[in-house]
């Protein structure tokens, strides 16, 4: 029996025998998860009191279309991001070709562009009046749209492409981190056992990276599900459009909540199916002897293919849209920069920054709580609290507003009764309420990133540290956090970048006279003043770039870190 096995055995026995039934860490995890889950519970609660039963009407009319369109959109974006994300991650990790070092970080850049912005930009280019169709008409002498066929951008297919272009980085990022953490050892074994490079990818690397890739794809699908801006603009009838139709047009917020809950069931089934499919598999690093994957020098057509595979997503998902944005912003910088632009940008930065810090803290607490004790209850409540990401932001906002106002009004009522003064609303309509809303909305990002990273550290380490007398908190601080700090940065940056783009919650919950870059974009875009909308949109992208580059460096660094320490 070697040392680590012994440590593992001891760790096992302490887990069973010596620890109290419930510890402080578990209690705080459960409390925090419950707090974050309140808005989701509220949305479900709303679903129990609809103004009228909407289902007979929906089922006999548009529901089948909503459901099939939603599924098609999710599957389409899921497959698209899976291919682009995993493919590019594998290429930049294992191949050597010109520009690889730049692609490593640049492939993340589309993350900074809101889906509704890219949808608008491409429509401008690809619609009938756009330059492309205009040039074709000129060339072939066509006059009206009836003279020729051209793919319609405002369609299900268009929506799939637009969302794939800006969402694939989630998959790319997590897949790349997973590939980087894989040791050469396992791949070498597969090669010495006579498998070719393709088999090494499909039989070894891919299954090992599967948990990370799944988290990436499920984040993508949840984001696809909660999207309103793009599907509304493209008039693609998804369940989310149905939510808003029932809510706003039929004045039935309960019925709307019911559709939102149905969407949650979709997500749960999806996640459940995947977990079931890999129910007995657990992958940990068992050796500290980490050796980086060697990069294969690719030649000829393969070199060109590798370059093109990375260049296309970057070009279409970032470079081209940004060029269009800059073009659109020309001549509008003065109006935009004049009217409190700095204050607006400051608001965006403050909100996203606070949300990133809070979501990170909550994410570490929950992910480590799960690792320490697991337990079905904590597991279930953490999964549940992470569902906020799949609920359309405006609906989730209602889930935050109602309990928070209830708390405020209850405090007010008590103070009025006891002291005869009114406290008014203490939390509602404040930055605090908004930050809480962001955490509820983006928790899946931070928990996901941290959990999958913690999951790859073998429990033997915990066991060994425990036998050396360290407490769970000390193990977290001294052992785990240094190892997973790359993933922590990932978590924080994901929340930050998504926070910069956040629109529906901010609009509904904000304080008086409060603007963020995203609300500015929305305000002008809604009034079709796209010139004025371009500078703040550009600012969102620009603010997103720096963290995204940091993110990439962190991922690369985490590998060196892992490899370096192993060698010492």
């Amino acid at each position: 029996m070697n040392v680590s096995q012994a440590a593992a055995t001891i760790g096992q026995s302490t887990r069973v025998g010596l620890r109290p039934l419930i510890d402080g860490w578990t209690i705080s995890s459960i409390l925090v998860a419950a707090l974050v889950a309140i808005p989701i519970v509220t949305v479900i609660g709303l679903a129990f009191s609809p103004e009228e039963n909407i289902w007979p009407h929906l089922a006999s009319t548009v529901l089948p279309r909503y459901v099939t369109t939603t599924l098609a959109l999710m599957v389409g974006v899921g497959i698209g991001t899976l291919f682009i994300g995993v493919g590019t991650a594998w290429i930049v990790t294992t191949c050597s070709f010109p520009g690889r070092k730049i692609f490593e970080w640049a492939l993340l850049l589309p993350l900074a562009i809101p889906a509704y912005v890219i949808a608008f930009l491409y429509t401008d280019i690809l619609e009938f009046a756009g330059p492309i169709q205009g040039a074709l008409r000129e060339l072939f002498g066509w006059v009206t749209p009836k003279d020729y066929w051209f793919p319609e951008i405002r369609s299900l297919g268009g929506a799939i492409i637009m969302m794939t272009l800006v969402l694939y980085p989630y998959v790319y990022m997590l897949a790349r981190a997973a590939f980087l953490e894989q040791s050469l050892g396992v791949l070498e074994v597969s090669r010495t056992l006579g498998r070719g490079p393709w088999h090494a990818f499909f039989d070894v690397a891919l299954p090992l990276a599967r948990p990370a890739i799944v988290i990436g794809v499920s984040l993508v699908m949840m984001e696809t599900l909660n999207d309103f801006g793009t599907v509304d603009f493209f008039a693609v009838g998804t369940l989310t459009l149905g939510v808003f139709d029932v809510w706003m047009n039929m004045n039935n917020v309960g019925g709307a909540a019911q559709i939102a809950v149905l969407m949650l069931v979709f997500v749960l089934l999806l996640i459940g199916a995947e977990r079931f499919a890999r129910r007995k598999q657990r992958f940990h690093h068992t050796t500290t002897r980490h050796k980086n994957l060697p990069r294969r020098e690719v030649r000829g057509w393969f070199k060109f293919g590798a370059f093109l595979s990375c260049m296309l997503p970057l070009l279409m998902g970032f470079l081209f849209p940004v060029a269009l944005l800059i073009n659109g912003a020309l001549g509008h910088f003065e109006d935009a920069l004049g009217s409190g632009f700095l204050a607006t940008a400051g608001n965006s930065l403050m909100l996203s920054g606070l949300a990133a810090v809070c979501a990170l803290a909550v994410g570490v607490l929950l992910a480590y709580g799960l690792r320490l004790r697991g337990g079905n209850f904590l597991n279930a409540i953490t999964r549940f609290a992470s569902l906020g990401y799949a609920i359309p932001g405006a609906v989730l906002a209602i889930g935050v507003i109602i309990p928070m106002a209830w708390l405020d009004n209850s405090i007010d009522a008590i103070v009025r009764q006891e002291f005869g003064v009114s406290t008014g609303l203490i939390l509602s309509g404040t930055i605090f309420a908004l930050v809480f809303g962001y955490v509820v909305r983006f928790l899946a990002l931070s928990v996901g990133a941290i959990e999958q990273s913690l999951g790859r550290i073998t429990h033997n380490i915990d066991g060994a540290a425990r036998t050396l007398g360290a407490s769970p908190s000390k193990i977290l601080m001294k052992v785990h956090l240094p190892i997973i700090r790359g993933s922590m940065l990932t978590a924080a940056i994901l929340v930050f970048v998504d926070g910069m783009k956040e629109l529906p919650m901010t609009v509904i919950m904000r304080p008086f006279n409060f603007e963020t870059l995203a609300t500015q974009v929305h305000q002008f875009a809604a009034a079709e003043q796209f010139g004025q909308a371009a500078p703040p949109a550009l600012a969102i992208v620009a603010t997103g770039i720096l963290p995204v580059i940091l993110l990439s460096l962190a991922i690369t660094h985490s590998r060196k870190h892992l490899g370096g320490e192993g060698a010492e």
Binding site: T144, I401, M404, S428, K474, P504, F512, F514, E515, A527
Partner: protein, 352 residues
């Protein structure tokens, strides 16, 4: 252990520091405590209303604080209950005003000024809401491809001679739903369903984009006529930043449907005082200010709408479209059919 404790302490202190940062930020936000304020929840974009709100503040010394949102305003007001900071609501479309009224979030206002300035048709009988500007839902028709008289009423849009010639935004958009609700009010649910089905059958393409995009489509030859609000014509015809839109406007005529029948469907932008307004007097002052000549002219002109107050001069461009007969049904009546209209659009699969 002590080191861990120190770390935890540090984290705790950090959290508290963050918390107090949040609190200081909160206290920076103007609430009803300041000297003279009125707090506004607005469905209209800040840049549209800011110019005359500034004038209001200059004249009265009352500061106006604004939250602009389209979705969820009702739920926020409802949840905030008697402690809501909002004193007044500014909206477009009658359906939103009546949804707020039905949820009992507004209070009746008695004001001689408002009653004098705003015709009865455009305000709630009990003073629960007040219309400030109107806009007509009209037909944009291509100047040469549509012969005079080919489309004289909304009903003509559902007739076979318009097959493949109509563009419109989503049937589920508030403006189209209000139009359909006005048809339900005038002719009943059955006739309205047939109408929606007829228009759907005549569409040149799946409903998409906004009202302005439809005029663009007419210019491009996708279709010959479209439904749209009047003010888009003004916005396109005077667009210096995107001059191409002037060519869209130049391609079409403004047709006021139903001149020989019940008249053209008209909707409002309006305002109301909230049930739990803390600055009620200031809120009424704001509403009265908005109903007077100066603000009426400015408010209407800015977005090429029609002032509700009689005798207020129209923008020359708006005036050039001519006077027209408006559907005189009380808007409150139309808003009752709103949910039914949404269901009819589903039944005929208008957007599908």
């Amino acid at each position: 252990m002590t080191r861990v404790n120190t770390k935890i302490n540090r984290i705790l202190h950090g959290t508290i520091a963050l918390g107090s940062l949040a609190v200081t930020t909160i206290s920076d936000i103007p609430v009803a405590k300041a000297a003279e304020v009125v707090n506004l929840y607005s469905y209209r974009q800040p840049f549209l209303i800011k110019p005359f709100l500034d004038v209001f503040t200059k004249k009265t010394g009352i500061k106006v604080n604004v939250v602009f949102a389209k979705k969820g305003m009702l739920q926020r007001l409802k949840a905030e209950g008697r402690n809501t900071p909002a004193d007044a609501v500014l909206t477009v479309d009658i359906s939103r005003l009546s949804a707020l009224a039905n949820a009992e979030l507004l209070q009746p206002i008695k004001s001689k000024v408002l009653e004098k300035n705003i015709p009865a048709q455009y305000r709630h009988p009990d003073g629960i809401w007040f219309g400030l500007t109107t806009r007509a839902r009209i037909v944009y028709a291509h100047k040469t491809r549509v012969k005079p008289g080919e489309v004289a009423s909304y009903e003509d849009l559902a007739k076979p001679h318009m097959k493949g010639r109509i563009c419109t935004r989503s049937g589920k958009h508030a403006y189209n739903l209000s139009l359909l609700a006005s048809i339900i009010a005038a002719k009943g649910e059955k006739a309205a369903t047939d109408w929606a089905r007829g228009v759907k059958a005549n569409l040149a393409r799946r409903p998409q984009g906004n009202d302005r995009a439809q005029v663009k489509a007419i210019k491009e030859g996708v279709c010959d006529v479209s439904l749209g609000n009047t003010y888009y014509m003004g916005a396109m015809a005077t667009n210096e930043k995107k001059p191409v839109q002037k060519t869209w406007a130049a391609a079409v005529n403004v047709v006021f449907p139903g001149q020989n029948e019940r008249g053209t469907h008209v909707n409002i932008s309006g305002a109301a005082v909230t049930e739990h307004a803390k600055n009620k007097a200031n809120a009424i002052k704001l509403l009265e200010f908005l109903s007077e000549n100066f603000a009426q002219k400015m408010y209407a002109e800015q977005n090429f709408e029609y002032p509700v107050k009689a005798g207020v001069e129209w923008h020359p461009l708006v005036a050039s479209w001519g006077k027209f007969k408006a559907d005189t049904i009380n808007l409150n009546e139309i808003s009752k059919y709103r949910a039914t209209a949404a269901k009819i659009m589903d039944r005929v699969d208008f957007d599908g």
